[in-house]
């Protein structure tokens, strides 16, 4: 067998582009442009961090769940989020980064996670609202990612999406149960929705006119819809769900636009959003400290397991 000469970058790039144009997937050992690789690492790693940090707001309610049924459900949901993080770290790792290094970058605050998890969870209704709206928004983002151009990422998303549907339904069912309860419970649901509606809209990121690089991500098949398209889809989905639930979405500008065939709605407070991204959200410091502590407190377990494994080999 003769070894083929290493083709020049232009030929490799043409091969990469042809694969994308055919709607085929790029796989880990394929040649890919450095920019594509870097964008993917950032996106996948920070998506993973969001799943991991995302366990905290709801996790704090596990010991105070109102019934054994709710506790089992919440435990399963939070465990799923850990799983999502791990699927994603696994995908990021195929791009040539170390999983441990990604954790280091997270706890050093150099890589980010979704700002939605910097809001506090003040009542058990928040568990329901997070499932309905936050996981609902995540579904809007993640379903198109099942067809993303990077193979391992798309496959991880398929697993994630199968599980998200449970997350959203358990949340909605929790809220529906409370809405059938007392006036006080109904007020708790409304208060919770009032707090989470705008942060949920922020999950889709700043408006398209503030996102000059979207076009590149879309050309690479990493991104399938713009931030504004996804946000519109989420609003259109949520309005009838809110009606069925009997809650009011806290946006005076929200109304059906017959001409567009979509709902018009107001803009969230982007300044508040950017503060969260910079690390000044209500719970940033707490979330980071908790994650750092978990990593550091776990060090002796990792060391002990390593020592045990070494002993087994030499025995």
């Amino acid at each position: 067998m003769t070894l083929t000469e290493t083709p020049p970058d232009r030929e490799l790039e043409a091969g990469f582009e042809a694969t994308i144009a055919r709607n085929d997937r790029i796989e880990p050992r394929d040649w890919m442009p450095e920019g594509y690789r870097r964008t993917l690492v950032r996106q996948i790693a920070q998506h993973a961090h969001s799943e991991i940090i995302g366990m905290q707001p709801e996790g704090s309610w596990i010991t105070r769940a109102p019934s054994l049924r709710r506790k089992a459900i919440l435990l399963a949901k939070v465990q799923d989020e850990a799983g999502h993080g791990l699927y994603l770290y696994s995908a990021a790792e195929t791009l040539g980064v170390s999983r441990l290094e990604l954790t280091e970058l997270l706890i050093a605050g150099k890589q980010k996670y979704s700002s939605i998890f910097n809001y506090p969870t003040l009542s058990y209704a928040d568990v329901g609202t997070i499932g309905w709206l936050v996981d609902g928004a995540a579904i809007c983002n993640q379903v198109p990612l099942c067809r993303t151009s990077y193979g391992p990422y798309g496959r991880a998303m398929i697993r994630v999406c199968k599980e998200e549907s449970f997350h959203q339904r358990q949340g909605y069912e929790l809220l529906a149960t409370m809405m059938r309860g007392t006036d006080e419970q109904r007020a708790m649901v409304q208060e919770s929705v009032d707090r989470f509606w705008w942060p949920a809209l922020m999950m889709f990121g700043p408006p398209d006119d503030a996102s000059p690089n979207t076009a590149q991500s879309m050309a690479w098949g990493i991104k399938r819809h713009t931030n504004d398209e996804l946000r519109q889809k989420f609003v259109d989905m949520s309005v009838p769900q809110a009606e069925a639930l009997g809650v009011t979405l806290p946006d005076p500008e929200l109304r059906w636009n017959e001409e567009r065939g979509h709902h018009d709605f107001g803009q969230p407070d982007w300044e508040e959003f950017m503060e969260g991204v910079k690390g000044n959200g209500p719970c940033n410091a707490q979330r980071m400290a908790h994650r750092r502590r978990a990593h550091e407190d776990g060090a002796w377990v990792r060391e002990a397991a390593t020592a045990y494994a070494r002993k087994q080999v030499s025995a």
Partner: protein, 120 residues
């Protein structure tokens, strides 16, 4: 406003000015990487589902169960140290697969059989 993409999954994340960690060696030695294969049900092959890190084989199996089979996704799991896998080059044009590319006679469709011959 720095650019943030909705595709952070559970919310938008910045895609610019964020270090990637490429080429950086982590501060503590990492547990070995294992690739995980799951047999979905009897009668099916094991299929690759992802990877994880573990200190040893047994821990890899237990972690694989927790990470990849929380909803009856499998009846059997294989874990294999990633450094024990030998792989072909991913390029389809690789000479590795040339021997099978030009042997059309290995496929049933290569043979013309008249339409009136049944069950073939």
């Amino acid at each position: 406003m720095s650019e943030l993409s909705a595709e952070g999954g559970h919310g938008a994340v910045p895609l610019k000015d964020v270090p990637t960690g490429q080429g950086v060696t982590p501060p503590e030695p990492e547990w070995p990487l294992y690739e995980v294969f799951v047999r979905g049900k009897r009668g099916l092959n094991h299929v690759h589902v992802g990877s994880l890190h573990a200190a040893d084989d047994r821990m890899a199996l237990l972690h694989a169960r927790d990470v990849y089979t929380r909803r009856n996704e499998g009846v059997s799991i294989w874990v294999v140290r990633a450094d024990a896998i030998t792989a072909s080059s991913p390029d389809e044009k690789d000479p590795m697969f040339a021997p099978s590319g030009d042997k059309v006679y290995r496929h049933p469709t290569f043979y013309d059989i008249s339409d009136n011959v049944p069950h073939m």
